[in-house]
Amino acid sequence: MESQLQQYLPVLVLFLVAAGFAGGTLVISALAGKVGRRTKTKDIPYECGMLPEGPGSSRLSVKFYLVALLFVLFDIEVVFMYPWAVVYKELLTQNAALILGGMVSFLGVLFVGYLYALKKGAFDWTR
């Protein structure tokens, strides 16, 4: 157990170094940077010279939410495939039909769902 956790110690060290670098950079830049005046024109959102109208974050297409939902679905599918891939060769010698058939049927069910989303036009961004 202890050695399991010990593996992650270097990851923590790397995180501290990376976060320290990013944070330090932000602080030094804020301290060393030129301090300019806050003029009115400088303080409006940059839109290629047009004066901005309306709120900054507007409503967005429902397609983006759809992509997010489908991502959760398929990413979990992928996560299930990793342990399967690792034990695949080992279990082939014991029960080949189970290990191959199990994943084929699992993927088959999900592929039907994929086809449904496809036919519903979830991936069609031209509409």
């Binding site: 010990q6 992650y8 110690l9 270097p10 990851v11 790397l14 995180f15 170094v17 990376a18 976060a19 670098f21 990013a22 950079t25 932000l26 030094i28 830049s29 804020a30 060393a32 940077g33 030129k34 300019g36 806050r38 303080d43 409006i44 959102p45 940059y46 839109e47 290629c48 901005p52 900054g56 974050s57 507007s58 967005l60 397609k63 983006f64 992509v67 997010a68 991502f71 398929f74 990413d75 992928v78 996560v79 495939m81 990793y82 891939a85 690792v86 034990v87 695949y88 060769k89 080992e90 082939l92 010698t93 080949a96 994943m103 084929v104 993927l107 994929y114 991936f123 961004w125 031209t126």
Partner: protein, 364 residues
């Protein structure tokens, strides 16, 4: 040197880890700085112009022959750029969401550096216990995918924090693009692990270290192509740089950023490119092993040669990244989504099934 032997193993491990982290970090940051220069030089050569060739500290002109040559090569440009970024005004507009505005550049930069932790950049150095990988995790690939997906937060937060239309659109586009291609990327490597049978990236390299003919790119060409194109989309590089496409989104999610905050996004992007190249080298191109086959090194010199092979392969892939940028036009957003969802996901699934069947019939 002898006094190290008397420390207990845990302290040795900690000290050695800190040393490795520092070295990798230094090499990665130098790599980031100089890949920006290489990008500018290569794009200049492709477009038939000189590229950065002026900046140099005052004493360089007194060095005969080499001095002017180094200046023409632009060797000092990254230092000048870094210094300049620090000295520019760090402007925080009054309409932004301040906390996120400050957090976003850091969040965009840190995950791409963290991915480097599991990539084996060499075999061993000195003795067999000194493995040249920061963290030899048994779930290596899962760790890297987990950390890579954190990278999307930085960009989404940047777009949201700016509270302005174009950065917002850039951030939203980017999140949809990155999560779409992550599925294809994750699926493509499942086929690799069907062959290797271990998620640890050092074992993946061990599997391939017999030489050029053992590299997984020959056994899994489709997985390599999908992984590489997905890596382009994940790092927001052309032809998939829609989050920052300057012709329609001004500059994308970092429009409102200035000074070093702006530079942190760039460093994050280049660090992500280096990490993605490192992943491709590890998964498909034999990692630290030479094309003629290698055993884990017994001597320090041999270990350094392996690190050299790894760095050379990463550098070659970085040049491919940069080269592609000037060869292909930008995709349209619907084409990008179409490629990710309607082409790559079924292709990657088919690849997994075919690989599983081949393994089933050949494995005894």
């Amino acid at each position: 040197m002898d006094s190290i032997k008397y420390l207990d193993p845990t302290t040795q491990f900690v000290l050695f880890s800190i040393l490795k982290v520092m070295l990798v970090f230094a090499v990665a940051m130098t790599g980031v700085a100089y890949s920006v220069l290489v990008e500018r030089k290569v794009s200049a050569w492709i477009q038939d112009r000189p590229g950065p060739n002026r900046v140099a500290p005052f004493f360089v002109e007194f060095i005969p022959v080499i001095g002017p040559w180094l200046t023409r090569l632009g060797i000092f440009q990254p230092m000048a750029d870094g210094l300049k970024s620090f000295l520019k005004e760090d402007f925080t507009p009054s309409y932004v969401r301040k906390v996120y505005f400050w957090l976003a550049p850091a969040i965009a930069c840190v995950p791409s550096l963290m991915t480097l932790a599991v990539i084996p950049f060499g075999s061993t150095l000195g003795n067999a216990a000194n493995k040249m990988v920061i963290a030899d995790l048994n779930v290596g690939i899962l760790y890297s995918f987990g950390i890579v997906s954190l990278g999307v937060y930085g960009i989404v937060l940047a777009g949201y924090a700016a509270n302005s239309k174009y950065p917002f659109l850039g951030g939203i586009r980017s999140s949809a693009q990155m999560i779409s291609y992550e599925i294809a990327m994750g699926m493509s490597v499942v086929a690799v692990f069907l062959l290797v049978g271990d998620l640890n990236l050092s074992s993946v390299v061990d599997y391939q270290r017999g030489g050029l003919h053992q590299w997984l790119i020959w056994k899994q060409p489709l997985a390599f192509v999908i992984f590489m194109i997905a890596a382009f989309a994940e790092t927001n590089r052309l032809p998939f740089d829609l989050p920052e496409s300057e012709t329609e989104l001004v500059g994308g999610y970092h429009t409102e950023y200035s000074s070093m905050k702006f530079a942190l996004f760039f460093m994050g992007e280049y660090a992500a490119m280096i990490a993605a190249s490192g992943m491709m080298v590890t998964l498909f191109l034999g990692g630290w092993s030479s094309p003629f086959g290698s055993e884990p090194a017994g001597t320090i010199l041999g270990g350094l040669v392996h690190i050299g092979w790894f760095l050379a392969k990463v550098a070659a892939l970085m040049v491919v990244f940069i080269w592609t940028r000037w060869m292909l036009p930008r995709f349209r957003y619907d084409q990008l989504m179409d490629l990710g969802w309607r082409r790559f996901i079924p292709l990657a699934l088919a690849n997994i099934l075919v690989t599983a069947l081949i393994v089933a019939f050949t494995h005894k």
